[in-house]
């Protein structure tokens, strides 16, 4: 006869697994982006950077010449349930909440939070019109961004006319971040109707440059000409509603991300002192990640990638120096690559 196995072993296994779960619970709820830090400074042409992490993380320090484009310091999220919206429903993952406008905005706010973009407020159509008017009157539009993903602009800022407050605000230095439909193709009124606009592309870009063919959707190549796709770990490869940068003349244009038939998944186009950012495709997680990354990195139509330093930091601080020439240098340091956990922008 063998000795029967003792149930103490089983008890030990049970307690061990409870401990594993409990330790994990503590780890999950005591971790956040403050476990990481970065610092980038400039002395003449010498850029010095340092990155710190509690654990082990890949990092990237993206140094650009902004060409004078000022990163947005304050963000307005347009959301008004009393106004109609016009965007395509998309399938969500099993278990995921419906990827509607409200959830998208909530998520983009959270994604920007750990990238130190925290001055964010929701505005409805009326508040948006008033805000823009005040900024234009006070000539303080620069440094303010508007995220609009409703698919249709409200009539409080846009009615398909060159004199609309939206264009005066952009001209004054405002930046609009757009996704979910063809920008400006229609506007919404307070009575719930949607009005189509003729020749809307020329109003925004001075030429017809948008992808109006719903069949031209997935891009299979990265946008060549600058290294931002890889430098910023951009993921969205959808060019539906996207901009063809080569069709625009007389304005600063920066395309980054992916390209198909000349259309880009992300394009930033100059409008006066301001910028129009178009993110291609219907709502998606990838599109949202890219939007957060582009906003936080302070990229604009005049941006030029100067240097991208990558490496690994493991439980401590690492850093170095690099020589970069340029007048309006900025840096964006982020950790985690395609799974970012921290991001911070520096004016140098």
């Amino acid at each position: 006869m063998n000795e029967r196995p003792s149930d103490k072993t089983v008890i030990v296994i049970a307690i061990a697994i409870l401990a594993v779960i409990l330790v994990g619970e503590v780890v999950v709820y005591t971790s956040d982006y403050t476990d990481y830090s970065a610092e980038v400074t400039r002395d003449g042409n010498v850029i010095e950077y340092s990155v710190s992490a509690d654990g082990s993380k890949s990092y990237s320090v993206v140094i650009s010449d902004s060409g004078g484009y000022g990163k947005v310091q304050r963000l307005l999220l347009y959301y008004d349930e009393s106004y109609p919206s016009d965007y395509e429903d998309v399938n969500a993952d099993v278990g995921a909440p419906a990827l509607d406008q409200s959830y998208y905005l909530k998520q983009i706010k959270a994604l920007l939070g750990f990238r130190y973009v925290t001055d964010i407020e929701y505005v409805n159509a009326e508040e948006l019109g008033e805000e823009m008017q005040t900024m234009v009157d006070e000539r303080k539009s620069s440094g303010t961004g508007l995220i609009c993903i409703s698919g249709v602009l409200p009539d409080t800022i846009y009615t398909g006319s060159e004199g609309d407050i939206l264009f005066r605000w952009l001209d004054d230095g405002g930046s609009i971040y757009w996704a979910g439909n063809l920008i400006g193709c229609e506007y919404a009124t307070s009575d719930g109707s949607i009005v189509e606009v003729e020749d809307y592309q020329r109003l925004f870009f001075g030429s017809d440059c948008l992808n109006t063919d719903p069949e031209v959707e997935r891009a299979y190549n990265e946008y060549s000409g600058n290294g931002y796709r890889e430098a910023l770990s951009l993921s969205n490869n959808n060019v539906k509603y996207g901009v063809n940068p080569s069709a625009i003349s007389g304005r600063a244009v920066l395309s980054l991300g992916y390209e198909r038939d000349g259309f880009s998944s992300i394009t930033s186009v100059q409008y006066g002192s301001g910028a129009i950012f178009v993110f291609g495709g219907d709502y998606s997680d990838y599109q949202r990640y890219d939007m957060a990354q582009v906003i936080a990195a302070g990229i604009g139509p005049w941006s030029e990638l100067k240097e991208c330093i990558t490496g690994t930091v493991t439980r401590g601080t690492t850093g170095g120096t690099v020589i970069v020439e340029g007048s309006d240098l900025t840096a964006y340091a982020y950790l985690g690559g395609y799974y970012p956990v921290y991001g911070r922008y520096f004016e140098l």
Binding site: S6, V10, S31, S58
Partner: protein, 446 residues
Amino acid sequence: MSSILSDFGSRRGFLSKPIILTIVFGFILRLVMGTTFSFPDDTQSWALTIANFEASGSLYELAGYYYTPIWGYILGTIDLLGEPFGVDVFGTRLIELLPLENGDSVAYTLVPSVEFSLMFKIGLFICDLAVAYLVWFIVMDRTDDDRKSTVAFILSFLCPFVITACTSQGMFDTIGALLTLLCVVLMMKEHYVLAGAMFACATLIKIFPGFLLFVLVAYVLSRHKTDGNGMRNVLKAICGAAMASLIFILPQILEGTLAESFSFLLSRTETMGGGFGELLSMATMALYAAILIASILIGRWMYRSEVEDRDGLLLTLLMVNVTVIFLFPANAQYLVLLAPFLVIQLVTVSPKYKVPTAILMVSTAAFAMSSGPLNLVAFAEFTGLLDIHAVVDWIGWYIEPLIGPVTPETIVTCAGVVEYLAIVLILKTFYDVWKETKEHTPTINM
């Protein structure tokens, strides 16, 4: 402590030569398969989950994790233990795979790194070992037979679909199986508080063990019919379950994300859009209701049976109940919960389970690998030992129609049909064995 050591250390105890060889072989096999094969979708979800809580200090603030919190917590511990090993790159977007993205047939192009995959898979390998140990424990405890318990261990640890679940699929069902087995053994040994805690964790990590509630409660009540302690012991288990649940879902209660933590479970029964979608939703609800009723009836069977070997009856009915649960749905990784109970029946009750067990093991493993060459992209990208362009070509061939609309992927996916037939055959075998033993529920064949 001495008794624990005796389990592992005695000459005729757990650590016999065949078992040591099985452990070594099983681990090497898992390491090789876990390195070579990775289904990107689920694995990249775990990478995203870790990144999300590292950024936000929450499982649910950032989109990406839709399960109940237990698995998220375990990822937290794995992340903590993995950090000293310098796992810094979780994955990359693979441009080479983009051309394979096509409408609904999406190739998974955000590919997790091999080192990240291994980081959490090694945790799953350890769980597989613990499950196999518990199978050995149960068989040894019931039969006192070295040979039988060793065979049970080998069958459990080297079960093909248990291996594919924790390697190529990167799914955590082995933890659900471990928690369920712990609950069962602790109940049989009358540690009801801890058993209740295990049951709560098992149900919170995967819903399926929840269906076993009726048979487990019936077991406790019927076992203590004579001494009148049944209800008292059930209350002890409820206390354990309540304490564990409260501790583990407290953060979600405090931050107001409790609904999000159950979203994956609830979404399974949500009404889908369109006529066919509604029909499908109704059918899903009806099937879950049928499984629930069957589980209640199995509990009733447990309670009413007057057998001496109540533990044996419990193990048999658990196998039946788990098999019934997987009549719908029967995803390959789910069956990891069935494997230990089936092996126990095969080794201790009737060799008639050999055929369905063999068919189930092979077909389910094949079904689990039905993503074909897509499982190789992470290995190719991060080790350079395979040409990524060649792997992309293989994927292209794999999803292209071969004859009419039939692709090689379709053919391999047919293993799922064989798997389902094996599940039905298990129930048929149980019925045959039951009839053979003159309708006394078979429990043990010494």
